[in-house]
């Protein structure tokens, strides 16, 4: 059997080890916990995180494939999942390949479909691209007479006036004016990025994730669990040490009286 003094020494050593190891963690929890307790009065729930690294960590970074096309004094922007007219979201669409204006409408193209929008940005029609024998849309443009033209591989497809049917061009076409991405004004670019991110990340949410360890994913939660167990051990070992100490004091007192 292990002597009592030895047991006390082992418990004290472990208590000291866990205590010192958890000290920084406890201070950290206290600070974040206090901030969270008063997050409303500190307006942490309304403050937004703007650090690009943190936003990227949350998957709220800038769109990877942001493209802007200038169309008749307007801008059609593609984020890879959505199209925006002058900075206002219109509808979902994959990566954009071009945009033109025809017949009082904007025509925006991705590789697999065409979107017809009115001047206010309402979706007039979503046209899946698929004339027989056609591959994906590579480029969208216009002829001098306003006819909308799609380039698909080596093929050129011409739209009718109502944008209902597509005819494969059987001869040479006079230099279509192809739509290319342009450099949009900073304000518009920022407006699109902000909408893409939505309401973004609040400081309260980030603190909550730091407080719970979720900001570091599953690994963070497990590490926090281990710290929580260490704190539990500290409570128990502290109690044991205190009880032993008290008993020793009483025993020593009786010994002196005798």
């Amino acid at each position: 059997m292990v002597p009592k003094s030895k047991r006390t020494s082992v418990t004290r050593r472990w208590h000291r080890f866990f205590g010192a190891g958890s000290a920084i963690f406890v201070v950290f929890l206290v600070v974040t916990g206090l901030l969270l307790n008063h997050s409303h009065s500190l307006t942490l729930d309304q403050k937004r995180v703007s650090n690009p690294l943190l936003l990227a960590w949350y998957g709220l970074g800038s769109p990877e494939k942001l493209k802007h096309f200038a169309v008749a004094s307007n801008w059609l922007s593609f984020t890879g999942t959505r199209v925006y007219l002058n900075g206002s979201a219109v509808t979902n669409v994959a990566e954009g390949v071009g945009a033109v204006s025809s017949g009082g409408m904007f025509i925006a193209a991705s590789g697999a479909e065409l979107l017809l929008l009115d001047k206010a940005g309402n979706l007039v029609e979503r046209q899946p691209w698929g004339p027989p024998g056609a591959g994906p849309i590579d480029a969208l443009g216009q002829l001098e007479n306003g006819v909308v033209v799609v380039r698909s591989g080596e093929q050129l497809w011409l739209a009718d006036a109502e944008m209902l049917t597509w005819q494969l061009s059987d001869g040479p076409v006079n230099s279509p004016s192809w739509s290319f991405p342009g450099t949009a004004p900073d304000a518009l670019r920022q407006a699109v990025i902000e909408q893409y991110r939505g309401h973004g990340l609040s400081l309260e949410r980030m603190l909550l994730d730091i407080h719970s360890g979720r900001i570091f994913g599953t690994a963070g939660v497990i590490i926090y669990d281990l710290f929580a167990l260490a704190l539990g051990f500290l409570a128990i070992s502290g109690l044991i040490l205190w009880l032993r100490g008290r008993r020793n004091v009483r025993r020593n007192g009786r010994f002196k009286e005798q």
Binding site: N122, L123, V124, E125, R126, P128, G130, E162, L164
Partner: protein, 177 residues
């Protein structure tokens, strides 16, 4: 990485592949649907604009505005083919409806994008729409049996069936022109 772990990962990936594929199912392309509807010789598409009273009627049927302002359809001798979209739970379901005179000749799910509720694409469900027409109140004249676990998709298809019948009756196709 150990060989055993690699084997487990490969096995899990194989198990997950069918689930990933089921995320968006294309049963028939829109071009194939139109070809089928008119036995390989489809007429030129026509356009119907959703505006004015027509827009309000559609809004009432769906419970919200339709996602587009104009719809294309194909019409030949009182038969019309429509390709319509409606959201089931979160994503649009693309449906092809063929109307003959004043009843549904065929309703088929062309693309189903939701993860759950794909049972509405089975003929066991869609065949219920065969022969269904509008009653005097503008509603479907037959009850459509639901599918447990796919209630929202069932409702979406029922609304689209109603809409297609209404649009057919609201266009010149009804009188065969």
């Amino acid at each position: 990485m150990s060989l055993k772990l690699k084997k487990i990962l490969v096995g899990l990936s194989c198990l997950l592949l069918p689930l990933m594929a089921a995320a968006s199912s294309v049963y028939e392309t829109q071009a194939e649907f139109v070809e089928r509807a008119f036995s390989g010789s489809p007429p030129e598409p026509r356009v119907v604009w959703l505006s004015g009273e027509r827009k309000l009627a559609v809004q009432q049927m769906l419970g919200h505005d339709y996602a587009a302002l104009r719809l294309r359809y194909w019409c030949q001798a009182q038969r019309s083919a429509w390709i319509l979209d409606e959201i089931g739970k979160e994503l649009p379901i693309t449906v092809g409806v063929i109307i003959n005179s004043d009843y549904i000749e065929s309703l088929r799910v062309l693309t189903y994008r939701e993860n759950r509720g794909g049972e509405v694409s089975t003929p066991a469900f869609t065949d219920q729409f065969y022969g269904v027409a509008l009653d005097d109140d503008g509603a479907l004249n037959a009850a459509i049996d639901g599918i447990s676990g796919a209630t929202l998709s069932v409702h979406a298809l029922t609304r689209l069936a109603n809409m297609a019948l209404f649009l057919h009756s609201d266009t010149e196709c009804k009188i065969g022109t």
